[in-house]
Amino acid sequence: MNRTQHIISSGLVAFVGLWVCGISYTQQPAEAFLFPRLISSVFVALALWTFGKAIMGWSKVGNGVSARAFMQMLPGLLVAILYVFWAAKGLGFYTATSICFFILLSLYDPAPHTEPRSWIKRLIISGVFMVVIYGLFAKLLKVYTPREIFF
């Protein structure tokens, strides 16, 4: 399992390295790719070495991601991806952040989901966080964020 993960991860890095190297040596003007050629050559050499070690089963550093850790992380990761790549722009920064904050809190808060008090606590924490974020970015730093459908 661990060996397979090492092969996949180092294989992806080697693929990126080969892609960077290929572009560096073929794109024009050549002068603009002088430095990328230099680093991509070292990049590819090291990446292929790492990939070779992974295939041989000699990769010792890094424990990979356990199935349990991945499954526990997955809901949070999906919420975060939706928040960053869709909701923040689609719904408006503050609305999206409030919803995302509350969902993450509900997903990972160890307090039982059956207790009404824990839901009230989560709502209060989310509200306080939003007030602080709004005060900090909108009022203090005057950052104009996308408002879109909501706020």
Partner: protein, 503 residues
Amino acid sequence: MEFIHYFGDVFAPVSFLLLLIGTIGGLILGATPGLSPTMAVALLIPFTFHLEAAQGLILLGAAYTSTVAGGAVSAILLKIPGAPANIATTLDGHTMAQQGKGARALQLSFLASAIGGVFGVLLLIFLTPVLAKWALAFGPSHLFWLAIIGVTIIGSLDSSSVVKGLLSGCIGLWLATIGFDDIMGAQRFIFHPALGGGINIIAALIGLFAIPQVLDMFSKGRRSTDMEVIEVEKSSLTGAVHEILRRTRALTIGTTTGSVIGLIPGVGGQIAGLVAYDQARKFSPEREKFGTGHTEGVIAAESANNAMVGPSLVPLLTLSIPGSPTAAVLLGGLLIHGIFPGTDLFDNHPDVAWTFINSMLIGQVLMCLFGLYVAGLAARVAQIPHSVMAAVVLGLAVFGSYSVQSSMGDVYVMATLGVMMYFLERFGFSAAPLVLGLILGPIAEANFIQGSMIANATDGIGAYFLGGAMNLFLIAVVVASIGYSVWMELRERNRKSNAGVTK
């Protein structure tokens, strides 16, 4: 003694207020397990945009100093180091707390941190201008090699695998080339419109340091933070001062070790604390007491990890080579204000340079004063559940990276790099060399191109970049740092396999 002229600037109302906020906030953030000093400083950078350069650096410098010291609070009261730099502090600090001497351990830790920190900053004050003048003699080839040294030293020394550390550095150097080429205006590796302007350093720093920690907290699931905070009893401060004065050997060993290690680029506070602890034990007549709640252990470890802070900025402020991952983030903070380390900093912006350095000196004293009072509160903050912490950090990361240029592209870059780094870290890759590559990449490329132009008009590239005593010395440093790390890695592997055979 130029620094004395700028002491007054630290006490300007806004600057001093920022110093206080950075110090108190840093102490609390440092005490929170899961929030590393590097991440805390990276998350603070967006707030410095709207400040003057000196004020922004004061905030970042204060946060850097006090997060390292604040990590001792959770190390002592919860047995969880707030930062890797505080690992050695848990050995005797937590045992002291269990024996009902938590307050004394905290007092000793903050006093030792302040003394070590002041010594480290004094070293920074006196060494930096000398080295900056020396750096004036450097040509493009030397500056190119210096940038490569920065990446290779952190890549090889800061990583558990030399090859993966160097590979991380290469990925960072490549990421730095994305966008439009400065000289020809050619597009390079722009495979998404968000990358048109290149990768914004601040968004990348936030993503690379904050998002992996958020995902790490997610991966722990709905775990409650059932940590027990040891109550802090009242203890006389004069007693702690007397104890420090009685333990000058441990204090001297810690301060000296921390300062020397801080000067070596790439070696962080974690090593400083552990090496100082080990040396203090070796030279102590009461070495059998170490690990049983001995005050010398706390003093040596804490004086070392704060003495490291000042010297870690010497190579940064003079040669653009950060001494630690947090110093690399500080370099990003300097660059966004259009200030380049080296002679430019001290000749053209002496007010910024000296106000920043002086604020670190005063910050050490404030950190000691407030640390003693904030410790109890900081320990409570350390109990904040992972769910809240992860959601807060994610929200701050999104708002922080967006606020840099009001660009959603930066938020996408931040999130993508962060998720990528989380998985890469699981396979032995490291964020620090990647960040160094990203920051030093433009410096390395600009000097490589400039050097190539000079070389084409003179002796050729080979002779220009590989000839001359200074070039050879710098190349030797690159080779030596890689060679040393490979040797250490092989030795460790042999030790492990021998231990396996013995079993």
